[in-house]
């Protein structure tokens, strides 16, 4: 239930930020797990969003905040092999695997191009990820959650639409949540990596 309130607060914060010289963007995210993340869930994540705000320091550079939620999940029927010191085994059955990632980051961006034209940007997000890894198998559920320090470089396009300071926002972001805690199953190597495609709107208090 807490997440519901966080989303509501983020929406309110985004709306009230119009009084300042801000660029606010809200996007739908398509996620693509890579690396170790894809070993647990390999399917693309079609459910996710980002709400972010950028405060411009000058015409080209900004600092801001980025919040999001990405869900990766899949049905998996591959047997799980387990190894102990003197015994080993196999567990088979339908599994529902999921990873929920909640990035909360500060950002810096550099923008190219002229005001009121289509602008490209590159940026870097730095902050934390709260990541919940979940395995449902049979009537059992195993959760594993950790906070991770992380980086997310990104690049994209802001395409103005009309004269009302609204734009289409297209971006790509690589998320790297560094090793933290232990993974489900006990592995000490618990980092997450995934790509995001961000599609949505950007709103500016004035064209930057």
């Amino acid at each position: 239930m807490k997440i519901k309130y966080i989303i509501a607060i983020l929406a309110i914060v985004s709306c009230t930020s119009f009084a300042q010289e801000l660029l606010t963007n809200a996007t739908w995210n398509i996620g693509l797990p890579v690396g170790k993340t894809s070993e647990f869930v390999s399917d693309q994540g079609w459910r996710g969003f980002t709400i972010a705000g950028r405060r411009f320091l000058d015409n080209e550079n900004s600092v801001g905040l980025t919040f999001g939620w990405n869900i990766f999940d899949e049905r998996n029927d591959e047997p799980i092999n387990v190894d102990y010191e003197k015994a080993s085994g196999t567990i088979s059955g339908t599994q529902i695997r999921s990873v929920n990632s909640f990035p909360m980051m500060v950002s810096v961006h550099h923008h190219f191009g002229n005001k009121r034209d289509m602008r490209t940007f590159v940026g870097l997000n730095v902050g934390t990820y709260y990541i919940l890894q979940r395995l449902d198998m049979g009537v059992y559920r195993i959760d594993n959650d950790n906070w991770h320090f992380g980086l997310a470089p990104e690049a994209g396009l802001i395409i103005p639409v009309g004269e009302d300071n609204t734009a289409i926002y297209l971006g790509g972001r690589y998320n790297y949540a560094f090793d933290s805690g232990t993974a489900l199953g006990g592995s000490e190597d618990n980092y997450y990596t995934y790509w995001e495609i961000n599609i949505g709107f950007a709103f500016s208090s004035r064209w930057f």
Binding site: I3, A11, C15, A87, S92, G93, G138, V139, Y140, D164
Partner: protein, 207 residues
């Protein structure tokens, strides 16, 4: 200017609302059936050499490990279950023998239990995941009965008289939901037994 702000505000709220709905209500149920809740787990003692075992002994009854709520005293299908295990052992090259001379002994046990739980609502979870459920208000109280079939292979020569620890060299466990028709429960049980052996190819004796 005021109109522009209203449009932006509307778009942000619309986006947030649509995204929230998408995230909360569109968790797929994956079309799960009661069979999808069956788990088969097998373990072996890595030090055991199964090729040295040729004969086995198995009692002609299934031990009820705990008298739970559902079906634990129902012995209707015990004969079919034991026969399926015998068929699999035979297919893997083992021969039935008297208890005193058998290389390994098979122990078959069943346990059942009923679980009651409360699911707080639609938010954050797999709606309809647990089977079966019934509910009221914003959340659901659901109950399910689950059962397990344990099949354990002991090597009498590994029995530790000092610690009284039996020498288990292999075990197979089938766990599943019991809220199903009797016929389907039997089918699922027999399928589970087959799976125990299929995922333990090292049990198969090489002629």
């Amino acid at each position: 200017m005021r109109k522009n702000k209203q449009i932006k505000l509307f778009l942000i709220i619309l986006f947030s609302a649509v995204t929230s709905m998408m995230l909360t209500s569109c968790y797929p149920d994956y079309g799960l059936t009661v069979e999808d809740f069956d788990i088969v787990a097998t373990f072996k003692d890595d030090a055991a050499n199964f090729q040295t075992y040729k004969t086995y002994f198995m009692p002609d009854s299934i031990k009820r490990l705990a008298d739970g709520a559902v079906g634990s005293s129902n012995t209707q299908y015990d004969a079919q279950i034991l026969q399926e295990i015998k068929n699999q052992m035979q297919a893997y090259g083992y021969t039935s023998a008297a208890e005193q001379i058998a290389d390994v002994k098979l122990f078959v046990g069943i346990t059942t239990s009923t679980t009651y739980a409360y699911y707080p609502g639609y938010w954050y979870g797999y709606y309809g995941w647990y089977y079966p459920w019934y509910g009221y208000g914003g959340g659901y109280t659901y109950a399910y009965s689950s059962g397990s079939l344990f099949l354990t292979m002991f090597d009498p020569d590994k029995f530790n008289a000092t610690s009284q620890i039996l020498g288990a060299v292999w075990s197979g466990t089938l766990n599943g939901v019991l809220d199903d028709t009797q016929a389907n429960k039997l089918t699922r049980t027999l399928t589970g037994i087959d799976k125990m052996f299929n995922q333990s190819p090292y049990l198969k004796l090489v002629p």
